[in-house]
Symmetry: D2
Subunit: 340 residues, 4 copies
């Protein structure tokens, strides 16, 4: 069995992580190439990990030394790079979001349908987190009866970027809840409403953080969401499912438990919060990339597919409209069966 030769596009934090993951922790894969418009940075990483470096991502995608492409580039170049991977006939794992708007996401879906077989996976890594996967399995099996309501919570410690705007909470953070809701419930989101409570003073002026969102799924399930990206404490992601005969939670704060007393303060018991998503979902990323490589050797794809990426983009677009208007907004998806 020959190893899959992977090329990574984009060498920022996520891309460098993925390159290390392929090089050191993914069975059946070798890292052969990295690319970034910042060619010096690509070269530095490539040299360190023993991979060829490219300044032009399209050159990497076309290279005969690359069997499969992992895109960790910014969202606005995803369409071009995914389509180039399709043209080269190579499996491609594209970090979320699939693209920046619904039209381009739909073009990707349509382009893939013209291929002999699907090639695209979208990097919604939570589907590979052991707890999230276990919860989805329980729900799919209706272990506690039909699902009726879900409550999702998504908290980040802080966003230090002064350019950050309220819409980015919908597009970059809530998008994970959108994918999870579809993953857990197994149907589309019919309607979305984004509500803005009193804003934290810890966010930059004018940023509506936290946000509470309501999804109405096409089968009647209601999903409540809290996204709070400047919560100050740490990274915490949870999902609680309410079914006819029981409830289940994934993502409780659970690593280690201790009691202590710091200085003159009160004694307390507790545990250290997760620092960020890489710490919380590190295992999920590992399992995602491993599963993608294994699928690639069999000519298959795993995880969220092109349609999932398109649907997430469409829901977030409706969510941004709701954020602006304050009203509940219907999500209009194209007819899946009538796609060319």
């Amino acid at each position: 069995m020959t190893a899959v030769r992977v090329g990574v596009v984009g060498v920022g934090m996520m891309g460098a992580d993925h390159a290390e993951r392929i090089a050191a922790r993914t069975a059946g894969a070798v890292l052969t190439a990295v690319a970034d418009p910042d060619a010096a940075r690509a070269r530095e990483l490539g040299d360190r990990l023993g991979a060829t470096s490219y300044g032009d991502p399209l050159e990497l995608i076309a290279s005969p030394e690359v069997d499969a492409v992992l895109l960790a580039s910014p969202g606005f170049v995803h369409e071009e790079q995914v389509l180039a991977s399709f043209a080269a006939g190579k499996p491609v794992l594209c970090e979320k979001p699939l693209t920046m708007d619904v039209e381009s996401s739909l073009r990707v879906v349509e382009a893939e349908r013209r291929l002999p077989r699907p090639l695209l996976s979208v990097g919604f890594m939570r589907r590979f987190d052991p707890e999230y996967a276990q919860l989805q399995g329980m729900l799919a099996a209706e272990a506690f009866g039909p699902l009726l309501v879900m409550h999702q919570t998504h908290r980040n410690r802080s966003v230090p970027n002064p350019e950050f705007r309220s819409e980015m909470i919908v597009r970059d953070s809530l998008v994970h809840e959108v994918d999870c809701a579809r993953f857990f419930v197994g149907t589309e989101i019919a309607e979305i409403q984004v509500i803005t409570p009193r804003a934290t003073s810890k966010a930059f002026e004018g940023v509506a953080d936290p946000q509470v969102s309501i999804f109405r799924m096409s089968n009647g399930v209601v999903v409540t969401n809290e996204v709070f990206v400047n919560c100050q404490v740490g990274y915490e992601v949870r999902a609680e499912a309410v079914c006819e005969r029981g409830t289940a939670i994934a993502g409780r704060p659970q690593t280690g438990l201790y009691t202590t007393r710091a200085g003159e303060g009160e004694g307390y018991w507790g545990g250290v919060a997760f620092d960020d998503f890489r710490q919380r979902f590190g295992r999920g990323y590992d399992l995602e990339v491993q599963a993608w490589v294994e699928a690639a050797t069999k000519g298959e794809v795993v995880g969220a597919n092109a349609w999932d990426g398109y649907a997430a983009t469409a829901v977030c677009e409706a969510g941004m409209a709701s954020l602006a208007s304050g009203e509940s907004v219907s999500v209009a998806l194209v007819d899946r069966d009538s796609l060319s």
Copy 2:
């Protein structure tokens, strides 16, 4: 110090509980009288607990052997009995709801304002639960900074009554969340929206259970609520507060922890769920009644007051309108300062 002589009106499950509580577990109080239109039932309880029994509640309220009145009668007779207690100049603890509609609740508020001093407490017992009280104290002190969002959960095992209708979830169950939201946030509810997800098949035909409700508080805090009265598992009530610098939860499932294995099934770890509200809030009821008796000896009232009872009724009335229309409904309270 002479003991406060308490008369209990209504000897159904709640009233009998309260009579026992006064007789056996409340310091500084004696049970002198019980009343119920079902005179035989009142007599049986009175005989057992050494108290005079009355078939006419108004006779009990007027009796010289009663210093303070505890109303556990049905909501539709509350107005008359509260006003009779006012006329007799006696402190009265009225089980929720204060009355069945906003006009009558307002009449009670206005009647009390014409008295030399307040006499009414409304039986929202959660305010006396140690965990709920601790959480409220933390929020009032802004221990983790200003409050931004709350999530409240209210689950009952089941409602066996075939007469039960969707509106009763708003009026009898959500009313507790309404009072808690006002208690935790410290402001009024400006707007309420009641959303009906896919209904459980375990409820009677046509009952919209569970329900998800959104409160927008007048200071911008948003409160999400899940009420599910046929959840099958047990009684579970929780409140999670999301503040600028931390989050806090009251009401985690916490009594006892064990591991076991039943028959041929899987091993599991866990604890027995609370059976019902009397088990979960038994301690809260004890503390509420004890505090009420102590306040009575000082000519004071404690807990939720007449205005709190009126506001809860008004919010639930708006909630029932929202349940019917599906729209968010504004809550119109009278101007508190202009009350006669």
Copy 3:
């Protein structure tokens, strides 16, 4: 039903607590008298709570205005005061330890057997803690099959007394574990071994803290105990029962749960530890005293009895011998059936 008139002997921290408890939170009881050799201190408390004060405890015990006696005096005067209560024919609740040595405890047991009916309760309040009582009920019912092993943990924040010696950990702290082991297992302790690990530097020089002790019960159950009275964090008391088909824990750290981030440090999740035994077992004390008063009105006793007090003293005496020798020491109890 006339209220039980209670006199409290000893007005240190425990005694003052109990006097308040009788005066303010115990139904069916009134506080009529307090006594302390420090007559001024007794007077101050008596005046505040509306009770007669005595400088001579024996005078209080004999007083016709006292129906029942609560002893919160130091252990070395317990024998005399308990015997005086017996002579007066009055129910007496004696704080632990029953007496300071096994001979005097045995004299108390024998003296009570010559009375027409038992009058003594020993203040092992944990038996009234709801969680401990629930666990004991499960074990007595063999809900998870026969009990095989128990693990008990007992931690205090610190002992500021420079006179404190290693033996006092056995006599004053481990004595609770001794009573709990007998309460949970339902048999006597046959053998005790006290082991001294590396000592904490936070204790006074020469104090062997923490201590690990092993009880071998007469039915073969083995009980491990950790007592650590300078653990710095807070008060934590736990018991884990290991049965043939499951395990159960009483006393997990469970009140409130929050996440926060203090200053520049790490975010954490957790809860505030209990401060001391009065906070942790305040409810247990309330229930104990209430049950004792109710039993007194029926001519009965509740909780740990004279024999339980004697057995605890005998085990602790063996424990102190083991602490000195490092060996396992047999506990020799008199033949219960042959008692005069």
Copy 4:
């Protein structure tokens, strides 16, 4: 970088697991060979995983297509196979126990010292479990001050083997606690005592299960251990460290949390217990084998070394003597510095 070619000896449950792990989930490694005296079974596995199969383990160890050896054979052949790996100059990961008696373990230690560099790792996988590793890191850094006491718990659902004897609880189960105590405390075990409580009726006749053991470490730390291999519930392994300024626990039951109600029974909240050690420590095994392969490429060893394996065998031998005599038994290790 060339992949490390691994040969697995022994194709029972553990060996087959390891072979799959090397073949499918270990980066930088390929499975080239499997061996078992049951040649047919070896062939079947080898054919399925694309590896050469051998009936003679020594032939595999000597084979030029094997760079590193993983031993999952029975303990009584470990000495011969480890020494053969040494002779071949190949890194070897030997499942615990190192050997069946202290003399042979010592021979392995001495043989390795005559090699140019260490080649042996012993498969105490808990050292690679993320929680256990995190706890060890906290203790090594004295994050909560010096360690004073540890409590370790080790429960298996059941042992269906009728040949099972009490000694095997010491040699095969307690051996993990022995290694963990040495790992956490960082010193040797000076003395061990094995205590046998009332035995469960769920074990085969004559098997002393559960067992409580006490380790006295050479620095004074005391470690209590419960091992219960027929606990009926599931697999549960925990370690609680008691330090001068705080306590910490690894291994709480933590995966998933739900509430439900089965049939007519009580509602409960909880989670499914782990089924067995492979499920609980699957991640630990993956990390162990990955770390071993990475170390092999650098000419290094990781995890428990030959001395750790020898010390564990010596402690268990003393433990079996204590099980027989009921007395505390000193552990006599050779002088590490005077080893040839």
